[in-house]
Symmetry: C2
Amino acid sequence: MPDKKIMLREDDIPSDWYNIIPDLPFDLPPATSPSTGYPIGPHDLTDLFPLELAKQELDKERRTTRIPEQVRAIYRLWRPTPLFRAERFEEALDTPARIYYKYEGISPSGSHELNTAVAQAFYCKQEGVERITTGTGAGEWGIALAMACKFFQIKCKVYMVRLSYERKPYGRIMMDLWDAEVVPSPSSPSATGKQAAGEATVDTNLGVAISEAASEALGDADTKYALGSVLNHVVLHQTVIGLEARKQMDMVKQYPDIVIGCVGGGSNFAGLVFPFISDSLKKKRSRFIAAEPAEVPSLTGGTYSYDYADVTGVMPMLKMHTLGHDFIPPPIRAAAMRYHGMSPVVSALYDNKVIEAVAYRQEDVLDAAILFTHSEGIVPAPESAYAIKAVVEEALRCKSAGKSMVILFALNAHGYFDLEAYQEHLAQKKG
Amino acid sequence: MPDKKIMLREDDIPSDWYNIIPDLPFDLPPATSPSTGYPIGPHDLTDLFPLELAKQELDKERRTTRIPEQVRAIYRLWRPTPLFRAERFEEALDTPARIYYKYEGISPSGSHELNTAVAQAFYCKQEGVERITTGTGAGEWGIALAMACKFFQIKCKVYMVRLSYERKPYGRIMMDLWDAEVVPSPSSPSATGKQAAGEATVDTNLGVAISEAASEALGDADTKYALGSVLNHVVLHQTVIGLEARKQMDMVKQYPDIVIGCVGGGSNFAGLVFPFISDSLKKKRSRFIAAEPAEVPSLTGGTYSYDYADVTGVMPMLKMHTLGHDFIPPPIRAAAMRYHGMSPVVSALYDNKVIEAVAYRQEDVLDAAILFTHSEGIVPAPESAYAIKAVVEEALRCKSAGKSMVILFALNAHGYFDLEAYQEHLAQKKG
């Protein structure tokens, strides 16, 4: 019987992150200054980020960036992550497809977000930063950053989207446990900026939390800001996922016909698919599918244009697929996907038709997630459920066509900090 | 750098469970009938359990029992579990001790309990059982059994100790997600039996939940009862933990001087230590330490005598360390440790001085657990925190003595379904 879990050794943790930008067959539109409209340089970012991250953010030259030994030492707490063959899920779907998933929920923070949190905290520490602020939607990013800050002995303050703060107590407790200061966002009516002032539903908006956290960092020389997705340096750090997965697929002598991930800001999707896109750019071999909420359809329903990354325009402007920085997202449970924009690189790849995108409704993805759970045991985060729904669709297509294909997807987080999402869903189904 | 995680391959999942009873250097006092007082035979148990489990329960002859292929196939979802070297925890304690932990929280149910739940559900299915009832204290056992029943398509009904039902919603949601019926226990005033009738604090008592679940199984030919700890067949199934750990210690050419586990009913402790005790019985090499709550001290404060396993005397009588079946436990957070008795084999080993026992208070063990979390990332279940406290004590003793020893402990469950325990603890410390 072939192994269900394809495991690497700790020596196989990648020694370098992969920067896709030099390999892109098109020019990536630059980030610009919200005040001047001109492209920014690294030093325009150092009020927000440590210099090394600012350089990584704008690096168009180096295909690889060395992972510092201190970061790899922390990665060893949970990396390499397992690649699972989803045999029982295949059986449940009665599909000839071979389905594999790369499971990042095994990290102690419960999601892929710790990959970049550790790197960001490390570079901050290197440059003498004493405190990091951030905004979190689902709480997963806040947990990851709180943990990473504790590892490197940096103070951490998290602005948590108020709706999540109120209905996801476990995220809050996890951040408390790692000694982070957690405040609900908006923290005051004035903090939300003019666009959002007076809006009743602004408590769903990650853009506001980002504005609050970034503004606080700008006002204090010893404090930097950290973002959990969207930006190039974040995506860079997440490529450990795909670099490992490629080795693991090699070990079982398989190559994915289809690679799937959910997208909120785009980082876990990018982390898995970029190393495979690198292969495809040389010789096209795989399809890449980004799965997003129909309720917040940045790729499938947004425009590709320059927009603010946050609500009040503190951050650089990015060319991306966006619903507009003043978009007020509905209160879907997948809180990490309630962001108006999308990683500029993911957006450009979509605009250039290198990747595809699909959008699903919450009730459908949670049904798919429960089928997965009953087969494989692991409870996915509500965000990951979007990827699973796309896998189901492709697997059933294989069945109709009587065609065996290899599907690889990112199971980027477990759902154990957000079981209320399933509770609500089950209650709705019962009646 | 030596690997932090010592990993086995799926082929290394044990092919047999290890039955310690034939190896014991003393006779194990038999289970007896509550009505006649005579030792029972397998057929006295078949109203409650499938015949194969009844046989395993009373087996004094066979040192090994073959693990059915269908059970090993499910084990492959998460087994073999990793053995971690706790390097960062050693550093935090500044100890010369080398600390290893076998992590069972990686199972999809979040604890070691799935090891026996899968086996029990399988044997029930083999014998045509349609429904399984059980009682759960912390909820971890209920989750494990709900999941195992779903895998083998058996109905599952869980009586959950009312206090946990009310303050541990995540356990309930997990059971719902696997389609188990969950009811709080006591489910009615009459259900608690004469001993407990009218007691206000009976909502903490696992013995009552066991009585309710077992009584229901006795009244229905198609329904069997399942217990998550204490009994010999449960302990048998848990030996996969120690059998794997012994191989993993071999891989790094280490042998534990001290082996530590927390004890409620005794199954996770037994599962880890029995294979090592088997070595020690031939040539004494290790110390074995069972860590229990000072608030529910079955080993360190109970008597070694025949007692009922439940409150109303539906189950066989067992010779064990017990606080008395009418003991009303205080509402400590480690709900799986609020049981009045202890595995008869663990009790006999303690009485024969093969193992030691220590008792700690809740606030001290949670402090130790937080220190562990900050070092290693994983949040332990409140139950596992007792083992961690014992590890801290031994590691600090090594430090005082300037002596390097190898300490191995069972991290039997994660705490992600009971973060409220940490929340309360942090609030108490602050306030």
